[in-house]
């Protein structure tokens, strides 16, 4: 039997997947299948190396249209799988040369993979972003461009106003930062683990507001309601920031094999 040209991995699950794989469509429109070994299943698609090989990926990953389609397909498969059972999502563009190599990987990394699976079992990832609520953007604009320059009657007048702007914007920033910190602390207490990601660029986030906090929380399923209620309360308590809750996500942010950085509160 000929090996496929390339095997693209989406996720690892334990045992035989509960989801009907035949209903899923993978990257490049390819069908999705399971490669099982050592009690684990790698969720995978056969892919052509003309599109998903090393050379092709180098070009294609730089093509936003291709990247959007591929990332979305990758995510959809993982998302569908994660509704039915715990999954360890794989980073985009994890490609093996054949099933044999996947079997070998499952055998070698089996213990690590089972450990990650047990950590995320019956838990889901939720994202919370905090944006500066207006004031900050004005402050930054003023310090960058000096919009009032043309109206200033004199150098002294300009300097006075500039000083006032700086003081006001410094206070606004401080309030925003403190608010974001408190929000994160309060939400971390409800989570079994949390991660802080870099804030996204405004164009990516689809907003002009400055993102201050981009956090992910791993939550027990029983805590979802309490968590979203807490987000609402925090939003009311901290008008300096706007909060946005996303999820549930497959546990992308908690799929690492590293043990450091995990705030297992054991609550």
């Amino acid at each position: 039997v000929a090996e496929p040209a390339g095997v693209w991995l989406y996720a690892i699950t334990e045992g035989i997947p509960a989801t009907g794989l035949s209903r899923l469509v993978g990257v490049g429109g390819m069908p999705v299948r399971a490669i099982t070994s050592a009690g684990l299943a790698a969720i995978a698609s056969n892919v052509g190396l003309d599109e998903f090989g090393e050379e092709a990926l180098r070009v294609n990953l730089d093509d936003m249209t291709w990247l959007e389609a591929t990332a979305t397909a990758h995510h959809r498969v993982i998302d569908a799988m994660s509704r039915a059972q715990p999954v360890v999502p794989m980073r985009l563009a994890t490609v093996y040369s054949g099933d044999t190599k996947v079997h070998a990987m499952l055998g070698q990394r089996g213990d690590d993979l089972r450990e990650v699976l047990s950590r995320i079992s019956a838990r889901q990832e939720w994202g919370v972003k905090a944006y500066a609520a207006g004031v900050l953007a004005v402050g930054l604009g003023a310090s960058a461009g000096g919009p009032g320059r043309g109206l200033a009657g004199s150098g002294a007048e300009y300097l006075r106003r500039r000083r006032e702007e700086l003081v006001a914007s410094k206070q606004a920033r401080q309030e925003v930062l403190v608010s974001a910190e408190r929000v994160h602390q309060a939400l971390s207490r409800l989570a079994s683990a949390s991660r802080l990601h870099p804030p996204q660029a405004p164009v990516l986030a689809g907003t002009r507001a400055t993102m201050i906090l981009n956090a992910a929380y791993l939550l027990d399923e029983a805590r979802h309601r309490q968590f979203s209620e807490t987000v609402q309360q925090l939003a009311a308590q901290h008008p300096a920031v706007q909060l946005q809750l996303t999820g549930p996500w497959p546990p992308y942010s908690f799929a690492s094999l590293e043990k450091d950085g995990h705030a297992e509160d054991g609550q």
């Binding site: 090393e54 985009l92 972003k129 870099p198 939003a235 942010s253």
Partner: protein, 119 residues
């Protein structure tokens, strides 16, 4: 309406008061890219990840670099333990160094490739 609650300009997210306990909300592309490119389990496959890293890094920088500059202005730096940004943790010019390095590597790859074709 309610102060402190945000939805994105594209309208893909509803305020979370509505139906959060029911099904999933549609995820926006930025959130998906951030997660599939930068999170998730990293196990080296058979494609050579060292070359791919260059490309992924380019995308990563494109996704977040604008926000990093703004964020530094504001005084936040709490992602700097992120291995992706390890190279720039020592000073503020790291991202441009990373870009320059990236450019050098790309040019080098291009040189090598064109040299191979010519011979």
């Amino acid at each position: 309406m309610t102060s402190g609650l945000a939805t994105t300009g594209s309208g893909t997210y509803r305020p979370y008061g509505s139906g959060i306990a029911r099904g999933r909300e549609p995820a926006n592309l930025g959130d998906i890219l951030e997660r599939v490119l930068d999170k998730g389990l990293v196990i080296a496959g058979d494609i050579r990840i060292n070359l791919l890293d260059i490309e992924l890094l380019t995308i990563k920088l494109r996704l977040v670099i604008a926000s990093l500059e703004t964020a530094r202005d504001v005084g936040i730096n709490w992602w700097e333990n992120d291995p992706w940004f390890g190279a720039e943790s020592s000073n503020g010019s790291g991202s441009s160094e990373l870009k320059a390095e990236n450019r050098r590597l790309r040019n080098r790859v291009r040189e090598l490739e064109s040299g191979g074709n010519g011979g």
